[in-house]
Symmetry: C2
């Protein structure tokens, strides 16, 4: 029996990155309104300051701050009112010593003024004069030009996943077209003579196809573009033909097969043939997820992956290797994580990294991680889980109350 020369996750990631150095993700131009959730492909640099003029943050009067020194309830300062600024219009009359101008919240502060007095601390004295009852310091309630964004400032970094606030910032800078990474296109094959379409009642020995549904939803979650999803019988030649054909129009082809030895051999052979002998990884030192195969075909620039048939194993390997790689190649940060305390001892697997699903429990000022057990074929273990943790291959295990990093699923 041929022993699998399995790779650690770290080694597998390194092999993938090295083999795919030439494969640079494409960059496309998107309308700002359609860019939510996409990955920014270049730094956003401000071409102008925001705000572009000095604005007031209150309803009140623009003054020369020095004029208000000593103002009090009993001894107000009298200033001549020389202007009333309207929203959306420039201030046209400068303020100087002894004068002031009304400015609404967000309005433009007249030249010469250096502070605002809130209208609550003022009183109209006569038609042309204002009484100020309170001193204000230089800069009070004024947003300077460029205080939010300076001209030439790096505002959003390349690799950022665009959230609503990034859309807001780009709108404020007048950026209507956004350069983002074109998502990988992915084709998914779910293979097995035992698989029936989920809408069918399985006969004894048959089961419903889960992986084509779960994996395509997972790809969608990360913004990948689904090229094709197929359920296939175990017919090596037909499958190989379809894989070859779809590699031409996919960045990533996944063959999720059974884990029986005959099937593994078939998938492994197909991957080796369609990648012209460039199988990179033949098994992972990972629990679950050992029977995973990765090959890269340079002529079509396609990554071809054989994932375990067990849905949970397939989904975790998809996350830990393929999405990791996609994020790496598009300069993304890692996903949300948190530190939680183990509710129980948990053994690792010597020589293999263990990926353990956990449920999170919030108690007082801490999160606790409770392992969700279940054989790797049991998809409900993933629906009961909030996240997963990793136990290193050289780690004996985790102790009750130990702090561990949990990644959300």
């Amino acid at each position: 029996m041929e022993l699998l020369r399995v790779d650690t996750i770290e080694a597998a990631r390194e092999k993938l990155v090295n083999a795919m150095q030439e494969k640079k993700p494409n960059i496309v131009r998107l309308d700002l309104l359609k860019s939510l959730g996409h990955i920014l492909a270049q730094d956003v640099i401000a071409q102008e300051p925001v705000p572009s003029f000095r604005r007031s943050t209150v309803d009140g009067y623009a003054v020369v701050s020095g004029n208000t020194a000593g103002a009090s309830e009993s001894l107000p300062v009298l200033l001549e009112m020389v202007e009333e600024v309207s929203m959306g219009h420039p201030s046209c009359c400068p303020v100087k010593t002894g004068t002031c101008g009304y400015v609404p919240t967000g309005g433009m502060i007249p030249e010469g003024a250096d502070a605002m007095v809130m209208e609550e601390y003022c009183e109209i004295f006569d038609e042309n004069h204002l009484a100020v009852y309170c001193p204000v310091a230089h800069g009070k309630d004024v947003v300077s030009q460029g205080e939010d964004i300076r001209e030439g400032e790096l505002v959003i970094k390349k690799g950022t996943r665009i959230r609503p606030q990034e859309i807001g910032v780009m709108a404020s800078l007048g950026i209507m077209d956004v350069m983002v990474y074109e998502p990988w296109t992915i084709t998914i094959f779910s293979t097995g003579d035992e698989l029936v379409h989920p809408s069918h009642q399985p006969a004894p020995g048959e089961i419903r196809d889960i992986n084509s549904y779960a994996l395509s939803a997972q790809a969608e979650t990360y913004g990948l573009k689904i090229q094709e999803v197929m359920v296939c019988k175990d017919d090596q030649e037909t499958l190989k033909g379809k894989v070859s054909q779809l590699m031409k129009i996919s960045d990533l082809v996944i063959i999720s097969g059974g884990s029986s030895k005959g099937k593994k051999d078939a998938t492994s052979q197909i991957i080796d043939e369609v990648t012209d002998g460039h199988t990179l990884i033949h098994g992972l030192a990972l629990k679950p997820g050992k029977p995973s195969i990765f090959g890269y075909d340079q002529s079509t620039a396609t990554l071809v992956t054989g994932l375990p048939g067990h849905p949970v194993a397939a989904m975790l390997v998809f996350d830990l290797l393929i999405i990791w790689l996609y994020k790496y190649m598009t300069s993304q940060k890692e996903g949300h994580s948190l530190f939680a305390r183990m509710t129980t001892n948990l053994a690792g697997s010597p020589g293999r990294t263990t990926c353990q699903l956990v449920r999170l429990i919030k108690k007082e000022q801490e999160y606790y991680a409770e392992p969700v057990h279940g054989k790797s074929g049991l998809i409900t273990s993933l629906t009961r889980a909030d996240g997963y943790l990793m136990i290193g291959q050289n780690q004996e295990g985790l102790n009750k109350d130990e702090l561990v990093e949990v990644f959300y699923v």
Copy 2:
């Protein structure tokens, strides 16, 4: 001057829930493949067990476990091979004492057998006989019928946001149509004489519209359906007309206006009129976000909200009140949070709850929360933030190194 009778966040939430008791979210049927990210509107109960038959988790031989007692390298047990099960086909020949049958991973275990022996521990002895070199216990490497999901079991709870794994579980149960909550439809008005379309170069005194972009992206993030997004000048009658008209086809109408007193009064008057006097909340004891107004119109079942003009304040109130309410009414759990240690002291605001943006820093086995400062009009404070924390209105503040809960933004 009329003082605002402001509500705490808790009081505001209670008022909204009470006023909108009659407004039940609609339930719609969706194709399983289109249900990703939607909110499940009813519990999913299994109508059948999964798996529906006993399956092997290894390639090997199905045996009566008792027969293997005492088997060893030097003294194998000999069993007659009576069957070879194929994937996708039922087993047709029972196994009994003294016999065995080959079963591939995922294949059906013959009646009478109660355990699997991995093929690594067996050897073909002759055409009809197998030598077993290792004893196995009852149930070894067998997944029982219903071991993943029992018939009648509550598998996924109402209110769950559908992830890829929930799609997988429903596929395994043959559920092709999913009952989900129909997302609220939302109309957004961004108002102000100073606003210009982001593609235009603002003249002095003008600024680019941010809120219609940022708020519609935020609504999209939570799966709400955008009905209409409009930028309007400050013309009370025209705005009121448009609001009335769009209330007929929206669950939620947002008027994001300036924060100047005149504008607040205008928005407040519009909301009072279009809701037939049912203004529920007139100001929040929240920093930022005080000038927020909520009214509910029973005849059209529409929530009409005036949000601050400052983008960050508008987005935080949208999250803390509107999205909170939407989640409450669709039985959703709260979002991802974590506990982090303050990098610095931070003062609260007496009588008001403070919502403070923070950047998260991972160091060793902890996250640290570093306040992101900036006036609430400064949208970049939100792009620099990973999340926010809350300081209660009766809390003086937070101390350096204190643990706080942070919610992701």
